[in-house]
C-alpha cells in the first residue's frame, strides 16, 4: 500500500486536522468528527447537512461553507458515519428553520441518518431527508437497495445550498433537492482498484488490459468487467445509459459533470469531457453549465464518472449563485 499517510487508523482524523488548518476561515470541526460551517448556526436559515464515508474527498467536507453545506459528517473510510455525528451536525446548524439531510442511497447511510433524524426530531428539531440515488449502472427496484447515490450528490448540495442561503424554507429546499434527484443521472468506471488503508491491499485485482464499468464510489467492483477501451468508447458506454435512462432529448439543457475517481489526472478528464460535449451536441442537448475535476472520489482509484443534470432556469440561477467552500468557489 503506497499512500501519504502515517497510519490507517489516523488518516481520517489527520486529514480533518489538515482541512481545519487550511480552511479555518470557512469551517470548524466539532466532536464527534463533524465539519461545520464557521458561522453556523445561521438564525432563520435552513441547515443543509450531508455525510458519508471518508475517502471521497473533497466530498463532503470540502463543500461546507457559504452557499453550500452547513455541515458534513465524515465516517471511517468507505463507512457511513454514525448517528451521533449527524445528530451533532443537525443541532450545530439548526437556526430554527429546520435541517435538510442529503443522504446518498446506501443501506448504511440511510439507516444511520434515519436514526439521527429520529433523535433530532425527538429533541424538537424539524428534519427532512432527501435520498440521492442517481447511479444508472444499478437498476432501480423496490425489492433491492436500489440505485447508489454518486455524482448527483455534488450538484444537489451546490444547488440546494444556494436555495437555503437565499432564505428558502425547509419545504421548498427539500422539494428542490428532490427535483435535482429526479433529474440527475450518473455512471462511473474504473481503470484500477483502490486500497482501503485499514485493509492494506487493493479491494479487487484487475488486469492491465481490463476495466470495470458501472462502479460506485467505494472501490467496489462494477457491474461488469470489460477489455480496456478508448476514452471515446468508455464515454459512450457511460453516456448511453445516462442519456437514455434520464430521457435527455433534443432541446434539453444540462449540466455536464465529468468527475475523476482520485487517481486520474485532469488531462484525461478533459479528453472525456470533449466526447461528452460531442455526444450532447449530437443529441441536441445543450450543456449550459459544466464541472470537470475530482470532486467525489474513491481514494486513489483511477477512473471517472459522468453525471448529467437536466436543468431548469431556477437550477441554473442557483448553480451560478455565489459559493465559498474549500472545493467549490465562485462569486465570492
Amino acid at each position: 500500500m503506497k499512500k501519504l499517510i502515517n497510519a490507517p487508523d489516523t488518516v481520517v482524523d489527520e486529514a480533518l486536522a489538515g482541512m481545519l488548518a487550511a480552511h479555518g476561515d470557512l469551517i470548524k470541526v466539532i466532536e464527534p468528527n463533524v465539519v461545520v460551517r464557521a458561522d453556523a448556526p445561521r438564525p432563520g436559515k435552513v441547515g443543509v447537512i450531508s455525510g458519508g464515508g471518508s475517502g471521497h474527498e473533497p466530498m463532503h467536507g470540502g463543500f461546507v461553507g457559504m452557499g453550500m453545506l452547513d455541515a458534513a459528517c465524515p465516517g471511517a473510510v468507505f463507512t457511513s458515519p454514525v448517528p451521533d455525528q449527524m445528530l451533532a451536525a443537525t443541532k450545530a446548524v439548526d437556526g430554527g428553520a429546520g435541517v435538510l439531510h442529503i443522504v446518498k442511497n446506501y443501506t448504511g447511510d440511510i439507516m444511520n441518518f434515519e436514526l439521527a433524524a429520529e433523535l433530532a426530531q425527538a429533541e424538537g428539531i424539524e428534519v427532512s431527508s432527501v435520498v440521492i440515488a442517481d447511479d444508472v449502472a444499478v437498476q432501480d427496484s423496490l425489492y433491492t437497495a436500489g440505485r447508489r447515490g454518486v455524482g448527483g450528490t455534488v450538484l444537489a448540495e451546490k444547488i440546494v445550498g444556494a436555495a437555503a442561503e437565499a432564505g428558502q424554507d425547509l419545504a421548498v429546499v427539500t422539494a428542490l433537492c428532490q427535483r435535482v434527484q429526479d433529474n440527475v443521472r450518473s455512471m462511473g468506471m474504473a481503470l484500477t482498484s483502490c486500497t482501503v488503508p485499514a485493509a492494506g491491499k487493493p479491494t479487487f485485482e484487475i488486469g492491465d488490459d481490463e476495466m470495470e464499468i458501472g462502479i460506485g464510489i467505494h472501490g467496489e467492483p462494477g457491474r461488469e468487467r470489460r477489455k480496456l477501451g478508448t476514452a471515446d468508447e468508455i464515454t459512450e458506454a457511460l453516456m448511453g445509459p445516462i442519456l437514455d435512462d434520464g430521457g435527455f432529448a433534443s432541446g434539453d439543457r444540462a449540466l455536464a459533470f465529468v468527475n475523476g475517481m482520485g487517481g486520474t489526472p485532469l488531462i484525461e478528464l478533459y479528453v472525456v469531457y470533449n466526447k461528452v460535449a460531442q455526444m450532447c451536441a449530437d443529441r441536441g442537448v445543450t450543456i449550459e453549465r459544466n464541472l470537470v475535476g475530482s470532486y467525489i472520489t474513491s481514494l486513489e482509484m483511477a477512473g471517472c464518472s459522468i453525471t448529467l443534470l437536466k436543468l431548469d432556469d431556477e437550477m441554473i440561477r442557483l448553480w451560478d449563485a455565489p459559493v465559498n467552500t474549500a472545493a467549490l468557489r465562485w462569486g465570492a
Partner: protein, 210 residues
C-alpha cells in the same frame, strides 16, 4: 431455573469480540469481493469499543448490559452493520428488561426480538442474502429445541446459522452493497451472514463454558 446470567452475557460478548478480531481479515476479504472491504474493520472497531465499555463498569441487569452494547455499536460501527447489530442488541435489552438472568425460553424470546429489530431496520427478507439469512434459521432451530435446554438450543442455532449463511451463497443479493453487483455476487459468501454465524457460535460456546 436460570441458565443465562450477566456473566454468561459478558462471556458471550467478549468471545464474539475476540473472534471478530481474529477473523477481521476474513470478513473484510469477503466484503472486498461483494462490497467495500470494511466489514471486518467495522465489526472489530465496534466490539473493541464494546469491550472497553463493558470493562468500565458494573451493568447490574442483562437489559443494561445489552443496551450498553447496542448503544456502543450504533455510536462506533457506522455502515450497515452498525445500526443493524446495534438494533439487535437494543431489542435484546428491551426483552431482557431488568432481569439479572433468564432461561432458555427468555433468551429465545429476546433473540427473536433482536431479529425482528434487524428486519425492521434493514427491511431485508429471507433470500435477500444478508445477515437475516443466518439469523432467522438460527432462531427457528433454537425454538425447535429450546425445550431440551439452552445448550442444545444454542448448538442447533449456531449450526443453522452456518447452514443459512451457506445456503444463500449461490444467490444474487437484493439488499446491501452486494445487490449492486447483480449476478457477479453469485457464489460469494455474505460478510454479514458470516459475522452473524460467528455471533451464534460465540453465544453457544460462551454458555457451554459457563
Amino acid at each position: 431455573m436460570s441458565d443465562f446470567d450477566g456473566a454468561a452475557f459478558t462471556r458471550f460478548v467478549t468471545t464474539f469480540a475476540d473472534r471478530l478480531h481474529e477473523r477481521r481479515e476474513e470478513l473484510t476479504q469477503l466484503d472486498s469481493a461483494v462490497g467495500d472491504a470494511d466489514h471486518g474493520i467495522n465489526m472489530d472497531r465496534g466490539f473493541t469499543a464494546v469491550r472497553a465499555k463493558l470493562g468500565e463498569g458494573a451493568t447490574e441487569t442483562l437489559g443494561a448490559a445489552a443496551k450498553l452494547v447496542g448503544m456502543t455499536l450504533i455510536s462506533t460501527v457506522g455502515g450497515a452493520s452498525g445500526p443493524l447489530y446495534g438494533t439487535f442488541f437494543l431489542r435484546l435489552a428491551t426483552a431482557f428488561g431488568d432481569e439479572a438472568a433468564t432461561d432458555a425460553v427468555g433468551l429465545g424470546t429476546a433473540l427473536r426480538a433482536g431479529l425482528e429489530g434487524v428486519r425492521q431496520r434493514g427491511k431485508a427478507e429471507l433470500d435477500d442474502k444478508t445477515m437475516v439469512d443466518a439469523m432467522a434459521p438460527a432462531l427457528d432451530a433454537y425454538d425447535a429445541t429450546a425445550g431440551d435446554g439452552i445448550r442444545p438450543a444454542l448448538s442447533g442455532a449456531a449450526a443453522a446459522a452456518a447452514t443459512g449463511r451457506d445456503r444463500v451463497t449461490p444467490l444474487v443479493a437484493r439488499k446491501g452493497r452486494a445487490s449492486y453487483l447483480g449476478e457477479r455476487a453469485m457464489g460469494h459468501q455474505d460478510p454479514g451472514a458470516t459475522s452473524t454465524t460467528i455471533l451464534f457460535e460465540s453465544l453457544r460456546d460462551a454458555v457451554a463454558a459457563g
